[in-house]
């Protein structure tokens, strides 16, 4: 199997597409890593659903204030220009189209932009949080994901089989092998690792990968 990008490397790649001054919401877990890789000279403003805009990095261990947390309940810090607000104002920012980018994880993404990332089926306790809101409203909804499941099944599919988070909402997918846009109901391949052939990539993808112009090499440093 071709060497794949690590989660940190996928996050690094996604961070390169975030403009200076962009308002960004990072999903709980792996997408939170995107904040670490802001390119030199650019500063995004991070939003968290629980009512903070422009928060800073994690505090030193032992310095946590548990009234100052992000949506993943991890401690954060304030920095100059931070603002606090209540949950209705927070989701007005989300649904109202004020975020430039929302970056989430995924179980499956369909070629029409449908996203499944909240439920693996009827077993266990269901939990949705803010995901269903975040996929609507942000100008770009990007997904970070391994290109396939642990047992090798495609996560980029013709149609999601898992319960949907949102319909037709994803605009770009950063995977461990490629960068894929969702355009007009199709996957359009933008970048791929040089080491993976187009045929191999297609075989790991559950729906046709279209090519529109050139496909760039996906190059990511060790991070």
């Amino acid at each position: 199997m071709t060497t794949r990008l690590s989660n940190a490397q996928i996050a690094w790649r996604a961070a390169q597409d975030i403009a200076d001054g962009a308002y960004v919401n990072l999903g709980i877990g792996f997408p939170e890593m995107v904040a670490r890789f802001q390119p030199e000279g650019r500063q995004a403003v991070f939003h968290t659903e629980n009512g903070i805009l422009g928060f800073g990095e994690a505090p030193q261990p032992g310095e946590e204030d548990w009234d100052l947390i992000n949506a993943g309940k991890k401690a954060v810090t304030i920095k100059p220009g931070t603002a606090f607000f209540h949950h209705a104002d927070s989701f007005a920012m989300v649904r109202g189209g004020h975020l430039d980018v929302a970056i989430l994880g995924a179980y499956q993404v369909a070629q029409n932009g449908d996203l499944a990332n909240w439920s693996t089926g009827p077993k266990g306790v269901p939990a949705v949080g803010g995901a269903m809101d975040l996929v609507h409203g942000a100008k770009r909804v990007a997904v970070l994901t391994d290109h396939t499941t642990k047992d090798g099944k495609p996560k980029l599919v013709q149609q999601c089989t898992l319960p949907l988070t949102g319909v037709g909402c994803v605009t770009r997918i950063y995977t461990s092998l490629a960068v894929v846009d969702v355009e007009d109901g199709r996957f359009v391949l933008r970048e791929k690792l040089a080491a993976v052939s187009l045929d191999e990539l297609q075989s790991l993808t559950g729906a046709p990968l279209h090519i529109d112009g050139s496909v760039a090499d996906l190059t990511v440093p060790e991070v």
């Binding site: 548990w66 100052l68 306790v125």
Partner: protein
């Protein structure tokens, strides 16, 4: 007018069986632990209130706060967006055993439904959830070529919230991200009970800095050094305290 209540037991004395209770907080931030524990203590002493419907973003963590309410069997139904936490076992076990009901609501829709309840808006349309299992059975409508789900307001008999500073008239401020759902819940409950870290005379809060105007608040209880749910859980505290 003076909305101060002398103690926690008195503050929660009026909450009856079968009540719907909004409880502020997002995880441990903003969780009104002392009010919740006073309610649990009343239940342990009197058997009431029980069969409660609780509205909160989560469904408890560890064995304190809402988790402890659930553990004692006071809660018939949770309305929340994310019934998971570092230690969600209390809710999980009851849920899987069919002993507690769950209405799962996307977080932004939960916030907006509560705001609508407080603002006299019986229903609204949102893009959130359209085409998903959580919108099943709800009316949908198209506006300007896009599809939306109709959601109903959410109201409660009581709101229990944690604030930072409160004056005698019920004006409140909050502390950082502990604000979260509390200002919304205060508007949407028939009776709103706030525990505050500091009580001041009217005029002690800058009129520009008031987050919840007193009209939304019915009772203010002083809890000068409130517990933080996260700290209690890290210290493995339970309520009530039990021998290890």
């Amino acid at each position: 007018m003076d909305k101060r209540i002398a103690d926690l037991a008195e503050a929660v004395a009026g909450i009856p069986d079968n009540a719907t209770v909004m409880i502020g907080g997002f995880g441990g931030s903003g969780a009104p632990i002392e009010l919740i524990h006073a309610l649990i203590d009343r239940y342990l002493a009197t058997g009431s209130p029980k069969n409660l419907t609780v509205i909160n973003n989560n469904a408890g963590n560890g064995h304190v706060g809402i988790a402890a309410m659930i553990e004692q069997g006071m809660v018939a139904k949770m309305v929340c967006s994310f019934p998971r936490s570092a230690d969600p076992r209390v809710f999980t076990e009851k849920y899987l055993a069919g002993e507690i009901a769950l209405e799962l609501v996307p977080q932004g829709t939960l916030a907006e439904r509560i705001r609508a309840g407080g603002a006299g808006i019986p229903a609204f349309y949102t893009p959130t959830g359209f085409g998903t299992d959580l919108a099943k059975g709800k009316p949908v409508a198209e506006f300007d070529g896009r599809s939306y789900v109709q959601e109903r307001w959410l109201r409660a008999d009581f709101a229990l919230i944690k604030a930072e500073i409160g004056d005698h008239l019920g004006n409140l401020t909050y502390r950082m991200a502990a604000r979260n759902f509390a200002p919304l819940m205060a508007t949407a409950a028939t009776r709103t009970i706030a525990q505050v870290s500091q009580v001041v005379e009217p005029g002690g809060i800058d009129p520009e800095a008031v987050v919840t105007p007193g009209i939304f608040v019915d009772a203010v209880v002083s809890v000068p050094h409130p517990a933080q749910e996260e700290d209690l859980n890290r210290a493995k505290v339970t309520h009530p305290e039990v021998a290890a």
